[in-house]
Amino acid sequence: MEKAKISAFQLFVMIALFEFGSAILIPLAIGAKQDAWLSIVMGMVGGFLLFFIYYRLYLYYPDMLPTGYVQKIIGRIPGKMLAFLYMIYFIYLASRDLRDFGAMLVTSTYPDSPLFVVNALLMLLVIYTLRFGIEVLARTGELLFFLFLLITVSALVLISSSGLIDFRQLQPVLENGFYAVFKTVYMETLYVPFGEAIVFTMIFPYLNERKKLKRVYISAMTLSGLSLAFAMIINVSVLGVDLTSRSQFPILSTIQMIELAEFLERLDVYFLLVLIIGIFFKLSLYFYVAASGIADLFQVKEPSQLIYPMGIIILLSSISIAGSYAEHIEEGLKLATIYVQLPVQVVIPAVLLIIAFFKNKKTKALPA
């Protein structure tokens, strides 16, 4: 574990930026058609439930990284193996996000640039950042968060003042019944992006004010969940369900629609900065958590030594991960959820909690 402390506000910012990260890029929960926003809100509520599993586990072992307490719960060797698989999972998600971003950039703005170079540049930035450790990442997050807010709010103002929004596109509510919405929650939004916040279990021990954790987490989740839902409402009401589901990056299509005073048009390039911030953050957090976890498992004395080699691995796998973008999205939203996300984010933590509960029955956990 790094010898670092982060403040409650820094954790808040990191969670919010993380949740935004890639989720704002992709056509999230579009399976629910115009009720996608509802699906996102419900996913958020599901995310709270998941949080309470992680939170209880954290309360049993507040000073330990999950890689450490897993070994306490299910024994040293199985614990190490499980933790290692979790780290592989985080690296996998990091590669996926890098691919998401690179593909977005290549298709939208740099059709002539090779994906590899685009990804490599971002990866170099992340490697540079992570060498400084979690504290610098947290501080960077604070600064970028303000920039992020500034740009998103101004984008919102521009969209609404250019008269593109047509709320009738959102009707009828619950056209395909409640089950269709619930299905996208169960299949998609619960895991991406809300369940993905399981990485923060590796960050919790750094928090300097333990008591604020619950409040910070819930408020950050609410902020990002509602904003994502709101972004989806805007997307659908500007583009319509059909266009949103066909667009690879609905948010960019929406921004491109802005045309104001015959001067402000094609603003997607400005908006690029927001997307870079979001992805940078998500990628950095996955990567950092994976690196610190691996360092903990293998007892590497200087975790910063791991950053460069792991960065190259993530870079390479971000290219190999799928032959085409369509395949990539298919894999991410359909396959990965059932076979990877569900067990990793829900089942295993729940089982761990049950075991931990029985193991710690005698010793009292910190009051919740």
């Binding site: 506000f9 703005t109 685009v118 930035l125 400084f132 501080r139 600064l143 001067f263």
Partner: protein
């Protein structure tokens, strides 16, 4: 090999330190001979022999470093007029009595050490030696020609005190003391530089300063191991946290009011003799966008101007880069009307935008450097050459486009509009990095370099204090005085990270007593009564 050098070094040091233990020989003639010999018979070392009563004595000083009036009136005259002591005493006992009775100077000091005495001579003191004793009297008669107090040339302000620091450390300390009449303003001095033995003073307000920062400053100053310290820039470079960064992590200023304000925030001032630039540590990034005048003018204007400065800094960083990125990669984001104009201009230009920008930026840097180093008389020539040849002729010849000239001019002006010279210099350098990134990857490149810059800024620390505080880490109490300035009423907290020994500036806030109503205090002048006049 390395260890061999090390051993030799320590041996030399040991020799030197044993040399400084040498005592002053009691024979005056032997003494003076050594002094002549040690100073290489330099004619500016003045040795005036005199007799005080029946004792033989000599006053030694360096010509030009002393003030000749006190040396004549307060030292030589009374000594020569000194009446013989009632009973003959051995010189050892007589010297203190004579010194007490006849030296009409504020500061005198006795020493037996030869090294100390000779350092005092070359440092601008006059030293009195007497035959038969190994004690010498060091008298402070420092003076000589110096620049008088003038208006600060680098940080000019419309409103606020006009005095600027001078090259004399004593004057500078006095200028600060004139602003804070407080016994808690403490000064510590030390000598830095093996050969130059430059005086360095550390100044702080006891009780407000953070002990950790102060300790760190002391520790780092003591670790300086250099033969010469000629300007505070040497000290700055040797004690800063991070050498490999384009950003300054220590502030320098020429203005006593800025130093005073920073002392009150709990910072430490480092004053180096021989330069008007005083260092302040720890520094944070936002400080480089603040000028003393912000606090003297009203808060709304100050806030607006600070915002403007941030904008200026950003333009000076990424102005040309945005132009390059927009014209080479993202033509679609330029409004059509503007695009036609720019494209028509660029049509004749034989270079890509990046080369064009590079030519113009480098030309400008050359002009600027020439303008700074040149004799003033030739200045106007350069500006004519710059304006006509480079601006107009280059455009007419079709080498650069007019739009590029505009961009370069704007960045040129912005780099002068930043209140701190040192932060403008960092922007000047980084601009080229941004231009390169824009030329190779458009906005994506610019955004990445920008983020890398932010990460770098967040990773910096100045004497342990995060450079981007109070923005990152976000400290709500201190945000009132960053890129915005809230009314003084609200800024009642010292910076939390290093002003924590005494966190609040005043109980109620920096304002007047609220028990007095702020409206019309005079009851007779309530609204209505004076309204008709």
């Amino acid at each position: 090999m390395k260890s061999f050098f090390k051993r030799r070094k320590t041996a030399v040091r040991a020799k030197q330190s044993s040399g400084s233990e040498d005592l002053i020989p009691s024979s005056l003639s032997a003494n003076l001979d050594t002094i002549r010999q040690k100073t290489g018979y330099s004619p500016d070392i003045i040795i005036r022999t005199l007799s005080i009563g029946h004792y033989k004595a000599a006053v030694v000083y360096t010509d030009g470093l002393i003030d000749s009036v006190p040396i004549q009136e307060s030292l030589l005259e009374p000594l020569l007029k000194h009446e013989a002591l009632p009973k003959p005493l051995p010189p050892d006992e007589a010297l203190p009595i004579i010194a007490r009775q006849s030296i009409a100077l504020g500061s005198i000091q006795f020493t037996k050490k030869y090294e100390e005495a000779i350092l005092a001579v070359v440092g601008g003191d006059a030293v009195l030696f007497m035959d038969g004793t190994s004690t010498a009297v060091i008298t402070d008669v420092k003076g000589g020609e110096r620049r008088s107090i003038q208006e600060a040339s680098t940080q000019v302000s419309v409103r606020g005190p006009k005095e600027g620091f001078t090259e004399s450390m004593a004057t500078n300390i006095a200028l600060i003391r004139r602003m804070i009449h407080n016994p808690n303003v403490w000064v510590e001095t030390m000598k830095v530089g093996k050969q130059t033995k430059t005086d360095v003073a550390v100044m702080y307000i006891n009780g407000l300063v953070s002990e950790e920062v102060l300790g760190e400053v002391r520790r780092r100053l003591k670790k300086i191991n250099m033969d010469g310290v000629l300007e505070s820039g040497y000290v700055e470079q040797l004690i800063e946290d991070e050498t490999f960064t384009p950003f300054p992590t220590i502030i320098n200023t020429e203005r006593p009011d800025i130093v005073t304000a920073n002392l009150l925030e709990g910072r430490v001032a480092i004053i180096v003799n021989g330069t008007p630039f005083v260092l302040l540590a720890p520094a944070v990034f936002v400080q480089f966008f603040q000028s003393a005048e912000d606090y003297y003018s009203r808060f709304d204007i100050a806030t607006a101007i600070r915002m403007l400065r941030v904008l200026v800094f950003l333009i000076s960083l990424i102005g040309p880069a945005v132009y390059i990125a927009a014209t080479t990669f993202h033509q679609e984001m330029i409004p059509t009307g503007l695009l036609i104009i720019v494209a028509a201009q660029r049509d004749n230009v034989p270079f890509p935008a990046f080369v064009e920008a590079l030519i113009m930026e480098i030309t400008f840097e050359i002009l600027r450097e020439a303008g700074v180093r040149m004799p003033k008389a030739i200045g106007s020539t350069v500006s004519i050459v710059g304006a006509l040849v480079i601006g107009q002729a280059a455009v007419q010849a079709g080498i650069v486009s007019p739009a590029m000239v505009i961009i370069v001019s704007i960045t040129a002006i912005t780099s002068f509009a930043t209140p701190s010279y040192s932060i403008a210099m960092s922007a000047r350098l980084l601009r080229f990095l941004f231009m390169g990134a824009a030329a190779s990857f458009g906005f994506y490149g610019v955004a990445l370099i920008f983020m890398a810059m932010i990460v770098h800024l967040c990773s910096l620390r100045s004497f342990g204090v995060p450079y981007m505080s109070p923005l990152a880490p976000f400290i709500a109490k201190n945000v009132g005085d960053t890129f915005i300035r809230l009314p003084l009423l609200f800024s009642k907290n010292r910076p939390r990270l290093f002003g924590h020994s005494n966190p609040t500036r005043s109980e109620r806030g920096q304002e007047y007593d609220h028990s007095v109503p702020k409206g019309m205090v005079n009851k007779k002048t309530v609204e209505g009564e004076t309204n008709e006049t």
